[in-house]
Symmetry: none
Subunit: 208 residues, 4 copies
Amino acid sequence: MSPRRRDTEGTAAARAERRAELLATAAEVFASQGYAATTIRKVADAAGILGGSLYYHFDSKESMADEILSTFLDEMWAAYDRVLQAGLGARETMEAIVVESFRCIDRHRPAVVIYQNESKHLAAGERFAYLLDSHRRFESMWTALLERGVAEGAFRADLDRGLIYRFVRDTVWVAAGWYRTGGRLSADDIAKQYLAMVLEGIQVTEAT
Amino acid sequence: MSPRRRDTEGTAAARAERRAELLATAAEVFASQGYAATTIRKVADAAGILGGSLYYHFDSKESMADEILSTFLDEMWAAYDRVLQAGLGARETMEAIVVESFRCIDRHRPAVVIYQNESKHLAAGERFAYLLDSHRRFESMWTALLERGVAEGAFRADLDRGLIYRFVRDTVWVAAGWYRTGGRLSADDIAKQYLAMVLEGIQVTEAT
Amino acid sequence: MSPRRRDTEGTAAARAERRAELLATAAEVFASQGYAATTIRKVADAAGILGGSLYYHFDSKESMADEILSTFLDEMWAAYDRVLQAGLGARETMEAIVVESFRCIDRHRPAVVIYQNESKHLAAGERFAYLLDSHRRFESMWTALLERGVAEGAFRADLDRGLIYRFVRDTVWVAAGWYRTGGRLSADDIAKQYLAMVLEGIQVTEAT
Amino acid sequence: MSPRRRDTEGTAAARAERRAELLATAAEVFASQGYAATTIRKVADAAGILGGSLYYHFDSKESMADEILSTFLDEMWAAYDRVLQAGLGARETMEAIVVESFRCIDRHRPAVVIYQNESKHLAAGERFAYLLDSHRRFESMWTALLERGVAEGAFRADLDRGLIYRFVRDTVWVAAGWYRTGGRLSADDIAKQYLAMVLEGIQVTEAT
DNA sequence: TATGAATGAGAATTCATTCAT
DNA sequence: AATGAATGAATTCTCATTCAT
């Protein structure tokens, strides 16, 4: 609009980019050392600035964790919602959800690790209420999906539903603990094999 | 129950019992709040004494974690060793290991949670070197077991070995995160169903 | 009651005494340097302990100010209430109130100084809501008293009531700024002369 | 108002004007929140600019306080000096001084508040030595004036001189705490009533 | 055995100030 | 003139640990 538009945009964009950079660094450190055990100084060191300087960009250590987690969860649910609205069968839906989950791990590994390790403790604070919401939504999604899968004859009916839910849930996310981008297997490869294990089991069967 | 047989024995036993009590409390708190986020005061509060009083029983916060973890690991490896020395086939060995693992979770849930969440960070300290040892031993045990299973024709050969290892490893231990003694399913029930899932998968097959 | 009673009481009393000691020190420092400009270290130094040690006794710097001010205000209002319930005439009530005020300054000088200098800023915080309450109660008390005095023919009717209120109010309390216990004049002497000034003025009159 | 007559003059004048604007804002904030509790950012926010920008105009936070206070004191003493050199009687001099004081409060209320609340603390710094000078000069002026008033038979001799001094001094200046320009009473109205109170007292006398 | 008062190192956070743009 | 990103010292507060009782 005005001749300053480029400049203003550039400035706003630069600021957002810096924030994102710093958040990525912070997420890395939180994930590898643990949120509580990570000092602001460690994050700042990793970012190459001084501790106090972080407070120009963020209100607090907590708000960094907040932004890291909410960004990741927003993106994850957007992906899940696309899958859920696609009208697939239970089994295909499950496959797609697992694939999206591994892509999420691929793109947000540190955030996923933080979510795994710290969300239980963080959820105590009011500002992290959305973690509980997400958790509940996650549980309903999977419970409904597994129920539907049993009804459609895709999933076994002889196993405890709660157990399956936890099995599937944990099985996917703990991979964030060891996954590294650029490793031998791509996220989609891993998703495929995880699905094979979860669906077909690891034993030799005639069907295999 | 019985009156103290001799003063010295009674005193020594009483002391050991008090230690165990306090350790159980500490483990509970470490597990639920996270080791780094748990203050000595929280532990003391949970035990109904004052912070300083814990130092009559223990050298440091670290030594509590140490004792909690090493006690658990000792017992776990003792159980594993009994299984491994029984000369079973790969598949039966795996089943027995998983069963023992769930029994371990049953008896040492807080310790398992701590092990899961904190061992990576704690292992940095020299006194926790045994955590790395245990980890390595765990990895070789499973890798060898899975390898043997494939060789014996019990386990599928078409999946990435590393992936299966991680899958099985995580799958068992994360259960400590939600397991509660005295729940609807016993530890052995859960072990059985977990094995069914891991071995046979959750999809419907003709074999099922 | 129990044989330990003396001990327990002694301990509880000792603790209360230590708190009071530290609060007196803190009040001194807050009063002389200003609350915001006083660091916890300065208070601790004045008390001969380390900064962190203060937190064994108090939750925060704010809670020290809180306790200092509320203790003082409680005592002041207790004294005022005794006067107000004595059923005196307006003029005698005023004299008694002023006398009690100077006694309050005598016993709680630092608290009064803090009240004077900082209550406006502190009152913003929720925990200091009672400062506003006290302020309002103070204003109603004086306004009613002056009104009654005018009705009884004791006080002049030709002056702005709001102005008199502020005049009397400030006149009494600012004395905390320079008063020192054990000076040439006792609190009661000062009260007497202040009353003479406020009631009769400083100019020479035939009546004087 | 008029177009800038010359560039240099216009620029210099504009700069001076901006400084004055910013100082007025700063004084407002210092007065209402307290000097120590006021951050540079609060001042900048109130001025609609960023914190760092203030340093284009001023060397430091301290220099702002310095300029605010010295400007006010210079003007006050100029007014006082005019009165003192007019050769009036003690009583008339006092009346004129009080009137000038309220006019000062009217024009420099924030500065007066800052002077009241902070000069004791600020005076510690070398650059604020003039605060002490002013204070001493103030005390001699009043002491001499009251002494003269007693000698001239205008003021009562039965009251402690030090007390009267403090009474008059405080009585005038604390008004800055509640005075607002444009209120019901003008500065001169207030001065008149204050004088009536101080000189004649608030009780009903036959002379009144 | 446990208490209670303290220590002291280090945590998160604040803020006056600087400086390149 | 003003911005925005940083600096670095200081501040409040925390907490593992000690120790006399």
